[in-house]
Symmetry: C2
Amino acid sequence: MPGIQAVAQLAGVSTATVSRALSGKSNVSEKSKDAVLSAAKELGYVVSSNASSLATGRTRNIGVVVPFLTKWFYTSVLEGAESALLSHGYDLTLYNLAGGGDERRSVFEHFLLRKRVDAVIAISLELTPKELTGLLALDKPVVGVGGPLRGVHTLSIDDVAVAQLATEHLLSLGHTSIAHIGGTKDFERDFHLPTNRRIGYESALEAMGIPVNPGLFRAANFSLEGGYDAAKQLLGSPRDRPTAIFAASDEMAIGAILAARDMGLSVPDDISIVGIDDHELSAFFGLTTVAQFPELQGRMAAELLLDQLHPETRKPGSINTALPFDLVVRSSTARPRSGR
Amino acid sequence: MPGIQAVAQLAGVSTATVSRALSGKSNVSEKSKDAVLSAAKELGYVVSSNASSLATGRTRNIGVVVPFLTKWFYTSVLEGAESALLSHGYDLTLYNLAGGGDERRSVFEHFLLRKRVDAVIAISLELTPKELTGLLALDKPVVGVGGPLRGVHTLSIDDVAVAQLATEHLLSLGHTSIAHIGGTKDFERDFHLPTNRRIGYESALEAMGIPVNPGLFRAANFSLEGGYDAAKQLLGSPRDRPTAIFAASDEMAIGAILAARDMGLSVPDDISIVGIDDHELSAFFGLTTVAQFPELQGRMAAELLLDQLHPETRKPGSINTALPFDLVVRSSTARPRSGR
DNA sequence: GTGAAAGCGCTAACAT
DNA sequence: ATGTTAGCGCTTTCAC
């Protein structure tokens, strides 16, 4: 592991010139630049990021905190962020909070504070005031994805509007008896996602003058299995069976599709089903859904952060950026059977 | 951000004593230790990992390289590794190679070399000799998961034995016409996984004196959809339809279950199906499978690495550790219909 | 048990 | 355009 000194010696210049030549910032003559570059290559020199960080105060490393790792959505955001950061020469240090309360505390009270990272991306995490204070005290940029965070630049999707769009799609097909599979209370903590989606659903119905029927609501845990069980309940009684189901996530919607099949119901002839996400499995199941582009979200978060780290290039930005979403119509939705 | 100096001043000791008290290694009197600890807490002091790394040469940071991020298997390994590392005070810096060849090169030629990490875990990656040389030249521990790597301590599963076990389960139920959905050539590069599993399948058949029928083999891409398509082919002609399918992954096996259902076949009455993985969805689908415990694999890799980083505690270990696997019988397999 | 001081490898003034 | 030099914040001999 040769140091900068070795390169300087071989190139016949000072260490300062080596540093300048390699970083490309300052003015260096073509001649010395070439000498440095070829000396560096010859020796296989790579800067010590620690020494560099210590000297500059910048680490070129971003901390990313996720609530789960084994869920498609989070890993997709992560993938987007990782590749954007990598292409800018940044490393990504990962903190997964899935383990439980203790892990969470140590991440926020210890790991993130030891100056290993230049900035933090928090994915779908509603930070406590204490956590937030700790982070902001670092005086480093923080970007949140998934919901508003006080004093932090965030990227978030309008969950109410997303749910409205999904519901309106069903309404526009002519459905009037539309059930909703939402999230349980456990998922409220992250930006009230279940409530917001339910509000969107209800407001779309009300806008069409359709009364909300509480009997057509079921809560589940955002899993395939949860969606399956909920749908079985919803579809159980042939008497007042809905003609459509709006599930708050694709995984639950896919569960609902499987439940319908198991009950001998045809999708979409007997029952239309729509979800939210555009999950990797959704195309396979022909699921109509409102896509939210998690990989793009990760990329946007990373780029927003890099912007803030390089104020020269900084474009003015609002404190909360709206994330795009889009209705993707596949084969799980259709007009309700006319015979009803 | 108070420094060690501030703590020393408040505690009325030297910076050296603070360092000693905080690291707990050296002898420090109870009195100064208490003084240091409370001063540190009062100021909210957290060491600068960069300064510490520079001084010690150790970063307490592990680089983890994965080929994909959005696959259940890899994220599970990652989760296991992350939580094990975190609990030992280590950070995890993530490098995802899914982006393409260029990313891969820059990770190996630049990112991993800049002394940011103490060691590297390579998950399901067959490193090129060049990559391996570069890593080993760092003189840092490297642990591979998923297959043998020359000169590297690896954790790997005996894919041949796993496939044999799955096939033998079907044989023991009385099946003699067993199809196999394997992987396409694209997946060969990572330790010849498709080939090994196919070998296990064939050797199990041969051990029972059952000739291998090439017509009962289909290759797919390890996805649900791929398994679905392959199964449709396999189950298409009622004349020589197999009574069982062994798929090289649970996702493909689940695809096969869905294909069977779509064709009006009952699982397991008409067709038994077994996979490999114990994927998060497998229980829901009642899939019989050979579990390989990815989270445990990640945890083991992390612990192996930490062992190597702390030679005092080091237990002697072989260069290749076998990973556990276990048959999980659910409802997708049964005796073949007696009537045949 | 504790302090003084010499680095760890690099960057950024400052001088030339 | 380039060299000299003073740190960055910690750890670790080496004395005492």
